[in-house]
């Protein structure tokens, strides 16, 4: 409603009628999926001025508030239709904004995962009296794994946002991305496809179990896929001698990603809705 009050500086109509006109405008703004607050304010102000003109025209013809409200409603048409037409006009801007926001989320998530994993590896190196530099020197080899953790987590989050009423659909979108990732990785790095895929699955299932309102249950989400992957491929791959360390890195990463997603929702959820 903030958009309406900002725009109603010089209205001559009063009382119930004003509330009625505000309601029409707010319905349109709510449903129009406009790309940002600037557009929302602009459209709200413009439509409000238009409804004022319609209202004043009816009042000047001698109609009372109730009749005027009815006439305005009929002449303005269905707010859903008006909103749908605006949504169609601004669809390219809306999608561009969403894609940009998603890209920022994935980039920030990948960097955060990189920081978490390198911190965990550094601490492990210190604890085992190994050189930290030699541990971190090869971290760029794990870039696919780091990106896979961010992708796994963010893909399920994106699915939840796209299909808020259907967990099955949300999961399907995440699985589809996982399979696509598997195909690309099998082509790019056929010898090392297991680790990024396991990381993807762990992050996605971690996110899935974070929905369960029981503390620490989601630890199992990162542990189970990792355990299965370790049993199947663990002995074949370097760096998997310490699965608990991999699990720790994954779990802390999921915790960090959860906080990043929360921050993202606070900043962007209005535009995403």
């Amino acid at each position: 409603m903030v958009f309406i009050h900002e725009s109603s500086e010089c209205h001559t109509l009063e009382g119930q009628l004003v509330t009625h006109l505000d309601h029409i405008v707010s319905r349109v703004i709510l449903l129009a999926k406009l790309p940002d607050n600037k557009h929302r304010r602009e459209v709200a102000k413009e439509l409000r001025a238009h409804l004022d003109d319609l209202g004043e025209e009816s009042r000047s013809q001698g109609y009372d508030d109730e009749a005027t409200a009815r006439i305005v409603r009929i002449r303005f048409g269905d707010p859903h239709e008006v909103a749908a037409a605006f949504a169609f006009v601004y669809a390219p801007e809306r999608w561009a904004r969403r894609i940009l926001q998603a890209a920022i989320l994935v980039a920030v998530s990948t960097v955060a995962v990189g920081l978490v994993i390198s911190t965990v590896q550094s601490i492990a190196a210190i604890c085992t009296a190994t050189s930290v530099l030699s541990t971190l020197r090869d971290i760029h080899h794990e870039v696919f794994g780091l990106a896979a953790i961010a992708a796994g987590y963010c893909s399920l989050y994106a699915g939840e946002r796209l299909f808020p009423k259907s967990l099955a659909r949300a999961l399907l979108s995440s699985v589809t991305l996982g399979l696509s990732l598997a195909a690309v990785l099998a082509w790019l790095i056929p010898q090392h496809v297991a680790l990024p895929l396991a990381a993807f699955t762990c992050a996605a299932s971690g996110r899935l179990l974070q929905r369960v309102p029981i503390p620490f249950v989601w630890f199992a989400g990162t542990a189970l896929p990792l355990l299965i992957a370790w049993m199947l491929f663990g002995r074949l791959l370097p760096g998997w001698q310490f699965p608990w360390l991999v699990w720790l890195g994954l779990t802390i990463s999921c915790k960090a990603l959860r906080e990043i997603v929360r921050l993202f929702e606070r900043g962007c959820v209005e535009d995403f809705a």
Partner: protein, 111 residues
Amino acid sequence: MAFDRELLKGSIALLILKLLSERDMYGYEIIQESVRRSQDAFEFKEGTLYPALHQLHKRGYLRSEWRTGETGKQRKYYSLTAAGRKAAHRTEQEWFSFTKVVNAILSKANS
């Protein structure tokens, strides 16, 4: 006379561009003017007019500006850009060609 909605949709850009080629107007004024000129035959619905105005604005055919009228009310006036003038001329030519062809077909069919 009630016109088919799809028919009106196809010609709305032309009508807006032509009306604005005469003078700057705001949305309500465009509706009033179209009602007056068509002698109440049709009027734009808000659901058609405002999104169309925003679409033409996005394409660079219109510019808009908030102006305060004598009553102290603010209104968003639309005016044509140079590209809008060209588009108005081109769309008008297309419309005349189109109606000419349609009329030719209809007159043959009726004869």
